[in-house]
Structures are given as C-alpha cells and as structure tokens.
C-alpha cells in the first residue's frame, strides 16, 4: 500500500501549531516514513500536487481570499482535520469580532485600501465540513500523533471531550481552585493538554475551548462569590477561544451583569 499523502495548510495564525508538529522530534521520522508529507510549507518548499488523503488546517478565515482557498483545500482533501484554537474557534484574533474592524484598519495601516479583510475571524467549520477538530493553543503533539496513527489504522481517534479536571485528577495535581482559590477554567474546558497549567500551580486558561457540556455560568457564579470581579471574569473567557459559543455567551452574560451592577444600561 502506498503511503497516505498528508498536507498542512495555514490560514490566519501564528504558525505555532505547525511548529508543534515540527517539534515532535521523537515521532517526526516515523511519521515521515508512514505518511508522505506532500505539502508542508513550514517545513519544506517542495510540494507534491493533490489530492491529499489528510489535510491538517491551521488558522482562521479572515480575508475574502481565505474564504475561496478553504473551499479548494476541502475539494482536494479526503479527510480534513482542523488544528488549534484559530482553526476550530477563530483564535485570539476573533477578539476583532467584538470591535470595529474598519476603524482599526484605518488607524493601523498607511494605505488601508490595500488591506482586504473580513469583519470577523471565523472557524474553518463555518465555511466547509470538517471531519475532526483538534483543540489547543497550540495543539498537543500526542493528539496530532494519535490522529495520524488512528487514520493509518482505520480506527476512531481517541480524543476525549470531557473536562480538563479529569486529566488533572489522573495526573495527581492538587486542585488550584480549591487549594488556592485560583480561578481555573479546567471544569469548562476540554481535556487534551494533560492539565498542564494546574500542574504548575496556574489556573487553566481555557486554550482547548469548551468541554462537551460546559456550564460556565456555574463556574463564574462561584468565582464571583470568591471575590473575582466581573471585568476579570469577562476577560477570562476572552482569550484564545473568545468566539467559541459557550465562552462568547458567558462573557456577554457577565458583561451584562457588570453593566447592570454599575447602573449603566447593559
């Protein structure tokens, strides 16, 4: 059997997820032996033409050209996997979705007329069907390797969708919420990182986005009772996954509560 052809594509992103793949030092040679890395500009200028068996897509859709290009990528890919918070939820650049992009463009660029940009940064799945999403900012190498291994074996990839707390307890971390009162998004965030931040006594920043059945309002109600103010709670949900529906809705809800409490109109 010939090796499956793999392509890696970049949209609006920082390249961190692609770099994660390159940093998979232990597995990279095996990976290259098992799949034909046919299109991976971050690694090599040599490109083999499509179609491709697997496409890994990094980045979000932010320009009219992106909208066109992702259609083309979908057409030439049998399996399309989005990698990272940008591709799965619009990324940190989706903060623009809350702002006036026209005003930014006029302010930042000397010739704004040359800059083609959309009002929103959006997830790949808003534009084309996606077969599997890998979360994280950046993605975790073991999850990338697991997906490729599963595709090679023709089995379902093992990508749990439960909370980070599960991994936190498996790892034997002491819960930072309970022991230190540190705000932690672990209970509303999807697992996959191995509860890395709590392992270093930090709260989870939610870089994997919402877990399977998120209840962020229960978490912020608790954090509020612990003394965390509303603007801080809003900011907690406005980072890498600002446009993921559960996080977006919760940030808005807390913003409205804040506005009400301040006597302003929500």
């Amino acid at each position: 059997m010939s090796r499956p052809k793999l392509a890696v594509w970049k949209f609006a992103s920082c390249d961190g997820c692609q770099l994660s793949l390159l940093s998979a030092e232990d597995e990279l040679l095996t990976l290259a032996a098992e799949v034909h890395i046919a299109h991976f500009l971050e690694a090599t200028r040599e490109v083999a033409p499509g179609p491709y068996d697997v496409s890994l897509v990094e980045g979000s859709i932010t320009t009219p050209a992106d909208v066109e290009r992702i259609q083309r990528v979908r057409e030439i890919s049998t399996t399309l996997v989005t990698i990272g918070a940008c591709a799965t939820a619009g990324g940190i650049q989706a903060l623009r979705n809350l702002a006036d992009v026209e005003a930014y463009r006029a302010l930042v660029y000397a010739h704004p007329e040359y800059v083609q940009t959309l009002a929103r940064s959006s997830a790949i799945a808003e534009h084309v069907p996606v077969d599997l999403e890998l979360r994280g900012c950046p993605v975790e190498v073991p999850q990338l390797i697991e997906v490729v291994s599963a595709l090679l074996a023709g089995r379902k990839p093992l990508i749990p969708t439960h909370a980070v707390c599960v991994e936190c307890k498996l790892r034997g971390n002491v819960c930072v919420m309970v022991a230190d009162g540190t705000p932690c998004l672990g209970p509303v965030t999807q697992a996959g990182c191995g509860a890395r931040c709590p392992a270093f006594a930090r709260g989870c920043y939610g870089c994997f986005g919402p877990m399977e059945t998120p209840n962020p309002s229960a978490l912020t109600d608790r954090l509020h009772a612990m003394g965390v103010d509303d603007p801080t709670l809003v900011r907690l949900f406005r980072t890498f996954n600002v446009d993921a529906p559960a996080f977006r809705t919760e940030a808005r809800r807390r913003e409205a509560i804040d506005a009400g409490a301040d006597g302003r109109t929500p």
Binding site: E146, V174, N215
Partner: protein, 394 residues
Amino acid sequence: MRSGVMTPTALESLVLLLRDRGYRVVGPQVRDGTIVYDELASTAALPRGWRDVQAPGRAGLERRDDDALFGYAVGASGWKRELFPPRQRLWEAVSDGDASFHVVEAPEPDQPLAFLGVRPCELAAIGIQDRVFLHGLAEDRVYAGHRRGLLLVAVECHAPAATCFCTSIGTGPGLDVDADGVRAAGSAAHATTPAPAVPDLVLTELLDGEHRLLVRAATDEGDDLLAALEHREATTGDLAARAATLEAAQAAIDRHLEVDGLHDLLLGNLAHPRWDDVAARCLACTNCTLVCPTCFCSTTEDTTDLTGEHAYHERRWDSCFTLEFTHTGPASVRTSTRSRYRQWLTHKLATWVDQFDTTGCVGCGRCIAWCPVGIDLTEEVAAIRATDGREVTA
C-alpha cells in the same frame, strides 16, 4: 495481640522496618498547600504541626500549636490511587509481521505496599473496594496485585475537618480492636454501614502531656512488627487519654447525613425539582467521583502507534459525569447534568446498597471539599428530605 505505647521516634523505626522488609511505604505529606499520600522515605515527611481546614469547595492548611503528626483529617486523594491506579496499561499487542502478533501482559507489581496513616473511614472505603474488585464474578487482577500483601497502619482521628461525617455513616472517627476483630468506634453502625478493611496496626496519637502513640496490633503481621519496635505497656492513663481524644473527635463532627430511609427517599424522588437546581450549579467536572475513595468506574482505551506494530489496551478512571460514560450505540444516554448528578448521588447512597449490601459513602467529605463549586451532598440530600415528593408524585 500486643498493644503498648511508643514515642514518635519509634514510629520512625516502624517506617525503616517496613522499608527494610521490602515495602513501598506510602503516607501523608504536605504538597501544594494540602495533604497528599505519596511514597514516604521517613517520618520527617509527615505533616507535623499542620491541620487541614476544609469547607465546601475549599481545602487548605493551617499551623497547629503542637507537633501532632496526624493532626489533620484526610488527604486530598485517597489510597485509591495506589490500589486502583488512575491509568494502567493492561496489555500491549506486538505485531510479528504478516497477520500474527503476540500479547505482552502488564507486569505484576514488584513491591508490596504499606500504608501509614489510614483513617477509619478510609479503611471502610478499602473494604468497599475489596468487595467491588475482589468479590465479584471476576477478580480484578490489577487491584488484587496491589492489595495482596498490603500492610495497613491505621490512625484514629483526633482532628476531624468540617467536611467529615463518618459519625452519620458509622465508619469513624475511632477503631475498636478486640478478639472479634476491628470495628469503627465513636459512632453507631447502621444496617448499611460498610465494614473496615482489617488493619495490621492501629495508632492513636495522644497529645496530652508527653507526645506519644498508643499502638494496638490487630493481625499477626502487626503483632510481629510491634514486637520489633520499642514500646512500653499502656497505662490506664493512656487508655483514658485515648477515650477522651475519641470523644472530643466525635463531638467535633457536626456535619450530618441522615441515613434513615435514605435508599427509598432518593429512589422515590427521581423527579424532584432539586435535581434541576443542583444541575444548574454542577459543572459535570468529575472531581467528586475521582476523589471519592469508593468510586470504582473506569474505561478502557485502545490505541495504536504510528507504525501500526503496537496496539495498547489501557484502563483509566472514568466517571458517571462524562458523556462518554453512557455512550451506548449511537449516543450517550445521560446527556443532562441533572441525570448525571442524580446517577452519582443515587448510586453512592441508594443503588450501591442493592448492588453491594452497604452504602457507597464512608463520610470522608472529599467530594464536598474538592468540588470546585462546593456542592455538598449532605445538603442536597437534606433538601430532598425536607421536600420529600413521594406522596405528591406517587
């Protein structure tokens, strides 16, 4: 069986003796602002002079004004981690080329375990997990491997936390040792009270006057160990001090879970509005089940490597709070948090009795303290009891 009084220094001899005899000694120690159980090289690592302060969703440490070694209630995670590891590879299949392969079984544990500092409620929890893993239709190989040869040094409680309610269940705070065996002391047993796993030694830390430990052997191994340790006869004064300590511990526990009629109360209130109320607060984060010393649920995961030459079959802790837990056929059965919280509480306190003849809760309070939003099962049960809907819905 021997009994006597020893100094904290003799406790160090016990740890050394156990290590000499080949045991991996696991005991309480301070880490990240709380008490955890981990490998113990010496009694110097014990949480000397610390007390734990626990409340719903809160757990911290405070300095005591004495040098108590066991002046706290229970550690963050129980002994379960050792006997029923969070992750365990069960076997690995290795390709021999063509279509053939061979299976490599996970190795048996190479060292027996000794637990130092097991609380009465924790002995009951081990008793419950013994029943689950060793007395079912098939003995669990992993659990049995760790449990076989396990040496237990129990310590009675003298500093219960605000989350403790062993007195409601009948599992603590003390332990009586006599010719009939070992039983919880300081609370009344109910029909559903679980029996403790039998400890080898039972310690009582006495802090009045000279800092000392009352030791009672409960098995031949315990007796043999005590014979090798420096100790003196217990005086009536020592025994009176133990009784006073136990009484004070019992009096210090004010959390209560009414177990009378609990089974029928919960199962008769499956449509109670309180389940919606708690579901609005619950994160479905699984913490309560993973810290619970009796929860035994696991899943098995099958993976392959990039080369396809190795396949792994691994077991890891699971929880009735995940969606995958009830994934049957095309979808999950318990999609609402309401149904998942209800599963947890009714299993712990009601259907566990149908399944294993005892309650599934030993009253350790971990699920209360380590719930990030402080959901308290004793409060949830009390709320349902206060508005029992059985007549209404019947």
